[in-house]
Amino acid sequence: MRQVLEGSQAVAFAVRLARTKVISAYPITPQTHIVEELAKFCAEGSLDGRFICVESEHSAMAALIGAAAGGVRVFTASSSHGLAYMHEMLHWASGARLPIVMAEVNRALGPGWNLWMDQTDSLAQRDTGWIQLYCEDSQEALDTTLQAYLLAELVNLPVMVVLDAFFLSHTFEPVDVPGQEEVDRFLPPFAPKFRLDTAAPCNLHEMAGPPIYMEMRRSIQAAMERVPEAFRRVEADFAAHFGRSYGAVEAFRCEDAEVVLVMAGTMASTCRQLVLDLRARGERIGLLKLKLFRPFPAQAVWESLQGVPRIAVVDRNNSAGAGGIFAQEIRAALCNRRERPAVHSFIAGLGGRDITLGTLETIYRRALAAAAPAPESEWVELDEELAQS
């Protein structure tokens, strides 16, 4: 049924459709609407689950780790400082191989205090062992959340569904909300591969010394390596039920492109329009949208860029001292390929600054005109005077 939903609501609806049993969260803008909606569902009884109020994000994730180890489907949501505060438990969740799902609404980190869109918070968690899936619109947010449960349970790794602050979390759009029965067919009841059981007590994740720790880490890496295939199957299954799929990456009009813009999140929608506008004028521009960030879909990226001479990676984030994070990952994914595009790296739209058609066209033209990529990420639409003062 099509409904007009806020991006946050779309996630909450999916969490309810997944028959999630335990939700624990601490409010933080711009994530709060998600857990507010879920708290309402729990209170009114439309979601047969328990909402555990906690005093911090660290405790929220700790509560979910306990609940998931008990063998139930769980959920939380966070943003920015909340996610940073959760960091220790993020490592624990993946190390414990628990299929926890969380929504992470990208928000800038302070100081200065900033509530708005910025990808640095989620990307800073790239080494925690969480699968990361980025969303472009509300429909994708709902669909990805449902997919996330199946994916997490297939590979026993936690999944972070990432949304843009406000551009997605607080924007209303028509969303096709699937029926419960259909979702139940797509997503069977959670059948944990292991769980805490008082009838057969054991200590999960107990001390692991040098003889086995490395093997545990390798097991996580091996599971991560299985994610692209698992996600492909999840998407195929999802498409069979609901007629929609997204792909780990999506190449839009990349055929014969002179420049492909690479990005994740809602700015991909803006870029689609730019591609259509410029293609209509005969320019050879394409878009590569990244949905899966962890594990990094190196093979899919390389395959999508066959024959493309140059790409412009648009990072709405910055790793101080290293530049745009998506650009780093793409360079790493391509560096050992003989045929590979030149990688131009751009930083734009930090802390909620708009990325407009004009912003993306500027990036396209600079990449097109450059003889070779600049050694460092190029910052666009910057007040240089302020930045150098």
Partner: protein, 568 residues
Amino acid sequence: MNQETMDAFKVPLFFSRSSVSTESHRTGDWSFIQPSFEDRTAPCSEACPCGTDLPRVEALAAQGRHLEAWQAILMENPLPGVCGRVCFHPCEQACNRGEFDAPVAVHALERFVSGQARPDPAPGRSAARPRRLAILGSGPAGLAAAAFLARLGHACEIFEAASEPGGLLRWGIPAYRLPAAVLAREIEAILALGVKLHCGAPRDGSLAGFDALLAACGQGRSLGLGVPGAELARDGLELLRAARTGPARPAAAGARAAVIGGGNTAIDVARTLLRQGLRPVIVYRRRREDMPAFAPELERALAEGAELLELHAPLALGRGRAGLRLTLQKMRSLDPGPDGRRPVTALPDAPVELLVDEVYGAVGAEPDPAWLELMAHTPATRLARCSIAFGPAPVAFIGDLGPAPKSVSEAIASGKEAALALDAWFAGGAAAVAALAACRVGAGPALSMASYLGTGRARSSRPVRFAELNPAYFVPAERAEPPVLAAAGFGEVEGGLEPAAAEREAGRCFSCGTCNGCDNCRTFCPDVAVRLELGARRIDTGFCKGCGVCVEECPRGAMAMGAEEGRP
């Protein structure tokens, strides 16, 4: 996706796990220090001369279990209705809540619970060999000694010289502070323990047929003013006695009276005179803040219309043309002396004269010389609040004859100490008397009858200080104040708390050092090492790592960290 398809998708899933529960991790082995539950002494109990278990009293009162609360007081103090009115409540000065917002209104609560339906008699025991004891005087010390000795199985007879029992309570404290009916009811309860009372029966210090004698004769004789013309002054105590006995004298409306003194008797004399229609002025040689009188009593006297003339010492008293001429010397306060009190010295100013209709002396009192003589000839062991000449036929000097400060609750404590000491003496001699120290409440001199009977809860003598509480768990709450009634004749001036207010006020008690089952320790323990079994909590030392979180999160200081036995 169906379950079969999901199961067919193989993914490495290797992680550490044990084949047994976490109980195999004896985390307690790591600890070198562990917590323990320790019922500790609340500072209010320690400060109470009677050693009343106040956290328990307040907990019961807060739950509406008023009779049990009363019973808990009666265990340590046979005169709660009296103390709930006239005690100067050192408990409230010690109350830890005073450092948070305002002390718990312990005094008003004592009065409240003592006004409920009559409780059962306080428990006691039978003596292996009951003794016969003669108690001379039925003031607070004599009554208390009789009550405790009777509960310990002894036969007590009180010999009271006056026509009615009560001593100072009956004759020295005006009815507006202590109604006669309240006193009568508590004396009746003491007599119901089997105590015999002989009124109009003065008696000397001879034993004649008794196994021991307790002298509790009080200080019935006022000290003179010691200035020329002192014989023109009237006796303040006599005024109080007369006001208690007969009808109030016809008001000499507007007549002015000087009351010399700065103690509680001076205040009571002034307030009695006010009620008889006179205009009293209290004349005191030191500063107002140096007065031994209880400050709130002075404030009420002033509010009722009494005047205060501080730093004026009487030089002489003479007859004026109409009335009396009181000659006063203006004084100056000096730096505190070794006793902490500030001496005064005369200013060079010329004396001033005060023309009044009457002068009352209230500068102190002393026992009858016969008792002083007996004490001088009876070598006695000085205990904290009484002196006892131990021997085959012991003689105890209690109340005002003992070494304790002069107050009603101290007198009760004195009678209690003598009762326990004599019982111990009869049972086990000097060693048993020395062993009474184990019944002390906290570090103070108060003795616990419950401990002596072996029925009290074991409380560590370390009192709980405010810094040991976790005030994060307490919410500021306004203290209930009993209503102050209009001064009308000799009717009571202070009202009682309503039940709802009393229960709320009792609920303000921090319950310092006493576990009230809040369960914070169990909730916060990261190792599930606080076990709750049959309603009792214990530390599972096999798993307690000794982190101390439970002790920190105990709101009321009822837990302590201590080195484990057998470990460094």
